[in-house]
């Protein structure tokens, strides 16, 4: 009996490749923005809709800090997507139950955890800035779905590791 060919895998492969490129594109945008705020600070104030309001020095630094953390998130995203792509690749080759994939899933779980923590820090900085009378809002913070994904990935990595060991045992059975 032949295995039915799933269209999900080629789609996932292409989508992941696109996401990797988009991630780098957003990273370049954040880096350009961060660099430009150092050159032209008044432009940044105007762009954020804070005209007529001169933010304190630490507020500007905090905003740059958020951008810098955004760059860190881009690096984490890249590592995560690369590993996910490698897993999809092994599924496409028909041999996904290998120890490498268990390590990759474990690394993805840690990266997801790091991203959630980063999101909390960014939200904290955003809240601190907003409390000083300007309409600053960042789309970050605690996410139930995000933390569930972290737990789920850690569990899945463990299941995968056990499955890989079982497969190795089965392969050595005569």
């Amino acid at each position: 009996m032949t295995k039915p060919q799933s269209t999900a895998l080629p789609i996932a492969y292409v989508v992941l490749r696109i996401l990797i490129v988009l991630n780098w594109f957003f990273g370049a945008c954040i880096l350009a923005l961060l660099t430009y705020t150092l050159i032209n600070e008044p432009w940044m104030v105007k762009a954020l809709g804070m005209s007529g309001f001169t933010p304190e020095r630490w507020v500007m630094m905090a905003m740059r800090g958020i951008a810098a953390l955004g760059l860190v998130a881009i690096l984490f995203n890249n590592e995560l997507l690369k590993r996910l792509l490698a897993i999809v690749d092994t599924v496409r080759r028909g041999d996904p139950f290998v120890a490498d994939n268990a390590y990759r899933l474990n690394a993805i779980a840690w990266l997801l955890l790091a991203l959630q923590l980063l999101s909390l820090v960014i939200a904290g900085i955003g809240k601190a800035i907003a409390s000083h009378g300007n309409p600053f809002h960042v789309d970050a913070g605690f996410s139930v779905a995000g933390w569930l994904a972290v737990i789920l990935t850690f569990v899945l990595a463990r299941v995968f590791a056990e499955g890989t060991l079982m497969r190795e045992d089965l392969e050595g059975t005569i």
């Binding site: 190795e168 045992d169 392969e171 050595g172 059975t173 005569i174």
Partner: protein, 68 residues
């Protein structure tokens, strides 16, 4: 101490080659070689049964617990 496989001795006693045994028990020569060299992680009851039947021996003749 480890589980030792005495397939070589049994084959020698019965003047049988590994290839002949592979044909009789319907197990690939590669897998039988793995078993013979003690590199197998486990052995199925069905494999043990087939080998014992082909070599007219007991499981205890094939497997032994001793110094590797």
């Amino acid at each position: 101490m480890a589980i030792l496989v005495n397939l070589d001795e049994l084959l020698h006693d019965r003047r049988m080659t590994l290839t002949e045994l592979a044909e009789r028990v319907d197990i690939t020569l590669a897998n039988l070689s793995i078993l013979k060299t003690g590199k197998a992680r486990a052995i199925r009851f069905s494999t043990l049964e087939a080998i014992c039947e082909a070599l007219e021996c007991q499981p205890g003749d094939l497997l032994e617990f001793g110094d590797a």
